[in-house]
Symmetry: C2
Subunit: 346 residues, 2 copies
DNA sequence: ATCTAGGGTGAATGCGCTTTCAGAAGAGGG
DNA sequence: CCCTCTTCTGAAAGCGCATTCACCCTAGAT
């Protein structure tokens, strides 16, 4: 910058003005400065700018990555396992990026499950004006510290820290509506629910919705999911589906899986076993991933507006950067039931 | 930081050392500092650190986003159009993020097609140690300037600036191999090629591969694709497929689409028209997106290692950050033919 | 011709941290 | 008990920019 100033015969203050407030500089001077900058290959230092102006123009996102970056796993299995989280966090990223761009922000992302002063989380926190956290990716303790210095919004999951902004989708409502549809509209009475890990708050919320629907309909209310998947992948979906078939007793008339990935896996397993969907058994998912539309039969599911989660997160951050005093916000985004063939519709 | 220093009874230099080189500080002192930092909610300023140390620990990525962020398009159409680019740039992002994390970097991303001193591109460039650019997202002129200050690697597309590192996939080789397979192994002679926009270097390279295969086999060598899609989407794939059917003259025995999205769209259009694949006509794609495995019939295609593109980009950047003197590198990643039912295999 | 505005510019200060360069405090050897 | 060698810590000088304040110049008003 000093070089540019010298070369164009102005002071560094003027060079700064050319970039910050172009209109406050005479057009002729401005051109001279820009030309000098071009010749010298000048790239303004974001660090210096940020330091001086106390703002970075960057928003951050921390998301989980279940895949070990050092693992050189078999390509096929790898891509399959990844799809589950990719479809989710990638859409968040896309949503945030889009909304951020609309507001003139760039997006700094890092996947991480660990905290501490050396972690990527700390690095991200120090370089952004505000940031979003996917549930269970940053230790609560770190969030406490960080949220004292800059706006933080929590996406999905439980509200670990009550003074943070928080966004979730209506998991329970969606699953409840889905179950109601199966019970009332299709007349199914023996339903099974396949859940996820106990630590998955989304899966738990969906199970709660299922319970409510059972209660609403006067059916027996289960205490826990009929089965839990280790990971919410297609492979686990297939496994649990088969386990359900092999169980003693009456076969359920319908199975609600806690997400689409598992439901898709189940569809394949059932086909292999010669069980017809939906004639012999209805199958549903949750998420509304693109895949759900394509499989045979097309999957009845609940669409969550994942991308909007990201967009709303940015909106909240931007809002809070504008006025930091207001009360913490807690948003719940609506979901929508998508009726397709796998439950007997269409 | 001054507060932390005061509270823990040390100088700011020691606080700095606690974060930069923990081992150089006595354990007892270190604990005292960290405790004070926790109490005060201290978050180190990445800007100041970057300014002082002349390094950010962040890598950047600029990618195109064809969707206008202001558009509130119909959700269904929107998601379909997006899928094409999402599947690509999202995998790049994922690959880069993963590799970056392995090296201790965070990733700063921004979608943009414009340049200039006010653009997001400039902002990104000023905040990273090095960055990757997807072809045709940043004006060459800006790249010239930026690449004088920090390492830049170009992903896909033609090599616009010859002193930049550059990574592509073997588009031509892949399509050539694919066409060879159709010609030799399946005995097809009348093949049609559906290309993309003229400005799509990937699509053009694939067409070149197709030509080579024709030449190799002694078939007539076309000067241009039989048809060009406006955008490489499913909708355009369906449209071009129908146009091909409605043409006068002999129907082709096989159609090679420049990417999977179009091929999938074509599959649907052909099904609607009662044309059997592969019995009546063979169909192939390019990219190896997840969708290609799921459609009926499963799509014969060429898998490109998209995620590896991102990973390699990071590797190149990291390498160049280590020793900046070496010659510009140009990598071509191999692709692999995936034979599935849509060409008559399996 | 003198005075007043007001746009355009420069000098100087500080943003919060890293990083020498010394100096202070312990640890051992003579 | 003194001296040297480590180990640990502090003082101070920037890093490259934004921003305030003062200043100069030109143009219009008196």
């Amino acid at each position: 910058m000093y070089d540019v100033a010298e070369r164009s015969g102005v002071s560094i203050a003027t060079v700064s003005r050319v970039y910050r407030t172009p209109d406050s500089v005479r057009a002729q001077t401005r051109e001279r400065v820009l030309e000098a900058a071009r010749q010298l290959g000048y790239v303004p230092s974001g660090n210096a700018r940020g330091l001086a102006s106390r703002t970075t123009g960057v928003l951050g996102l921390c998301f989980p990555d279940y895949a070990d970056p050092d693992a050189e796993a078999d390509a096929e299995a790898d891509s399959d396992a990844d799809d589950a989280v990719m479809l989710y966090s990638d859409q968040i990223i896309r949503g945030m990026e889009r909304a951020a761009r609309r507001h003139g922000y760039a997006l700094l992302i890092a996947a991480s499950l660990e905290g501490g002063p050396e972690s990527l989380v700390a690095k991200v926190a120090g370089r952004v004006d505000g940031f979003a956290v996917l549930a269970q990716t940053v230790p609560t303790e770190d969030l406490e510290v960080i949220s004292r210095r800059l706006p933080v919004v929590m996406i999905a999951g439980p509200r670990e820290i009550d003074h943070l902004d928080h966004i979730v989708v209506a998991n329970a409502d969606g699953e409840r509506e889905l179950a109601r549809h199966l019970i009332e509209d299709h007349g199914l009475r023996r339903l099974a629910f396949v859940g996820g890990e106990v630590e998955s708050p989304d899966a738990e919320a969906r199970f709660l919705g299922f319970r409510q629907a059972c209660r609403d309909a006067g059916l027996p209310v289960p205490d826990a999911p009929d089965l839990r998947a280790e990971m919410m992948t297609q492979a686990e979906g297939a496994r649990t589906a088969e386990e359900l078939l092999d169980r003693d007793g009456e076969r359920p008339q319908g199975v609600l899986f806690a997400n689409d990935q598992m439901a898709v896996g189940a569809l394949r397993a059932l086909e292999r076993r010669g069980v017809r969907v939906p004639e012999d058994i209805a199958v549903t998912g949750f998420d509304g991933i693109p895949l759900s539309r394509i499989v045979r039969p097309p999957l009845t599911t609940v669409r969550q507006p994942i991308r909007q989660l990201g967009e709303q997160a940015v909106e909240l951050l931007v809002q809070r950067l504008g006025n930091s005093g207001s009360e913490p916000v807690s948003l719940m985004l609506p979901v929508s039931l998508i009726r397709r063939a796998s439950c007997g519709c269409g």
